[in-house]
């Protein structure tokens, strides 16, 4: 598995995929829909999977001593690592954002707090759950897979950002320590959901890709 991930980063990863991982810096922008930074990460993954097709990576995988499902596993783990890295790299900016912006000061949507990270995991889960199985149905229709995935992903982004405006859910905007602790169950729930969907996306994608003739 280490060899597959090494291959993914050395030969397939698009430079912008790594750059977008640092888009957590957008959390410093006053009054901004912060979940957009997660959207950029999905765009980065789209670039990498397009690159994977253009570099004929799947053909190369087919001649290496690797099972087809392992080739899928490498790609799924890569997507997971990129997404989780983007969240981890956003933490310092979220802390800084909560210091420099007034509490509940984001007039657009969610503030930079634990609830925002839960939303990030939810957004990535929806994206992975649609994009990866759709992509490995053919192995090469990256644009179609991305289009299929980005529609529900955008809807989830809209729902998450809107939730901050519902009076009963105003606690989701709390950036104080107590507010973040109250949001932690949401974060853990989203993490479990994210892992479960990633595993399911892998199983479905691998099953579909087994049937593909190159």
């Amino acid at each position: 598995m280490k060899a597959l991930l090494y291959k993914q980063f050395r030969l397939v990863c698009h430079p912008m995929t790594v750059v977008f991982c640092f888009f957590g810096v957008m959390l410093l922008i006053p009054s901004y829909p912060y979940t957009v930074s997660f959207f950029y990460v999905t765009l980065g993954l789209f670039f990498t999977f397009t690159n994977q097709r253009e570099q004929r990576d799947l053909y190369y995988m087919a001649i290496l001593p690797v099972r087809k499902r392992d080739a899928v596993k490498g790609a799924v783990l890569f997507a997971g690592l990129i997404e989780l890295a983007s969240l981890v790299l956003s933490i310092p900016f979220a802390i800084l954002s909560s210091r420099i912006n007034p509490i509940g000061g984001n007039a657009v949507g969610l503030d930079a707090n634990a609830a925002l990270f839960a939303a990030g995991l939810l957004i990535y889960a929806v994206f992975n759950g649609v994009f990866l199985p759709a992509l490995y149905q053919s192995g090469y229709k990256v644009g179609t897979a991305y289009l299929k995935a980005i529609i529900p992903t955008t809807l989830v982004i809209a729902v998450c950002e809107s939730s901050a405006h519902i009076p009963a859910l105003l606690w989701l905007n709390d950036t104080t320590a107590a507010g973040n602790i109250r949001q932690l169950p949401l974060l853990f729930g989203a993490l479990i959901l994210y892992i479960a969907v990633l595993a399911l996306a892998y199983r479905t994608a691998a099953k579909r890709y087994e049937k593909v003739d190159l």
Binding site: A3, R10, L11, R56, I63, P65, V66, R67, D213
Partner: protein, 245 residues
């Protein structure tokens, strides 16, 4: 002993059927897999290495079922796919570093030896290599992990006569110690004359003959004396008078 046995390989497409193809590659042999464009050569080779799922039939590599023991086969073969450039903008060094991690029996010393032998510059990108050098690079990778069988899809296609001659000479050198074998598809009969010990001849998805070159000549002696004469005689289609309208 046969290093590869293909038994009853069948793949049905809407407009083409690969029909119960069977042949075997003995150890130390260079088998030329011939047939005109669209005869089923690439489909057969892709089925052998698992890129295409056959509807029927099986492939045995060193007497082990290739589909059940895919990793074993892939660790012990080298593949040169036809017309596919991998990672065209990457340097050879980067591709080699990645590739070596997938083979437990990778030998760095052998790789350096073959790079020198083939004058491969690791700092070059794939798209800076000529067609002949790309084939040599993939052969260098295969020999560096001690592949027992090299499967190549039209490796000499599009090469100038001198490069083709170099490659066929290289093929003979690769199998000279009797431990390695080569299966390569081609439609260039002069390559077969130069290096093939065995021939598998496919037409319209069905295998017409497989065996040694001598057996092939005997079987088709009424079609001509040279391999080119035989293949042209078997493959050629006469046009109807009303073909051009």
């Amino acid at each position: 002993m046969d290093v590869l046995r293909v038994e009853g390989l069948t793949k049905r497409y809407p407009s083409f059927t690969l029909d119960h193809v069977s042949f075997s590659v003995p150890r130390g042999a260079i088998m030329g897999f011939i047939g005109r464009n669209g005869a089923g050569k690439s489909t057969t080779l892709k089925s052998v290495i698992g890129m295409v799922h056959p509807d029927e039939g099986r492939v045995l590599f060193m007497d082990r079922d290739a589909s059940a023991d895919e990793r074993y086969m892939k660790e012990n073969i080298g593949v040169v796919p036809g017309g596919i450039d991998f990672y065209p903008k990457k340097k050879l060094r980067a591709i080699t570093r990645v590739t070596s991690r997938f083979y437990p029996n990778w030998d760095d010393a052998k790789y350096e030896h073959y790079c020198k032998m083939f004058s491969l510059d690791e700092e070059k990108r794939v798209d800076q290599l000529s067609s002949g050098m790309k084939v040599k690079y993939l052969i260098a990778l295969a020999l560096s992990h001690n592949a027992k069988l090299l499967i190549m899809d039209e490796p000499t296609s599009g090469l100038d006569p001198v490069s083709r001659d170099e490659l066929t000479e290289l093929f003979r050198a690769i199998v000279s110690d009797g431990t390695r074998s080569i299966l390569f598809s081609t439609h260039i009969t002069s390559d077969l004359e130069k290096c093939a010990t065995h021939i598998a001849f496919i037409k319209d998805g069905a295998l017409l003959h497989s065996g040694t070159v001598e057996e092939f000549r005997r079987a088709f002696s009424d079609h001509g004396n040279t391999l080119e004469e035989i293949i042209v005689s078997v493959e050629r289609r006469e046009w109807d008078e009303g073909a051009i309208i």
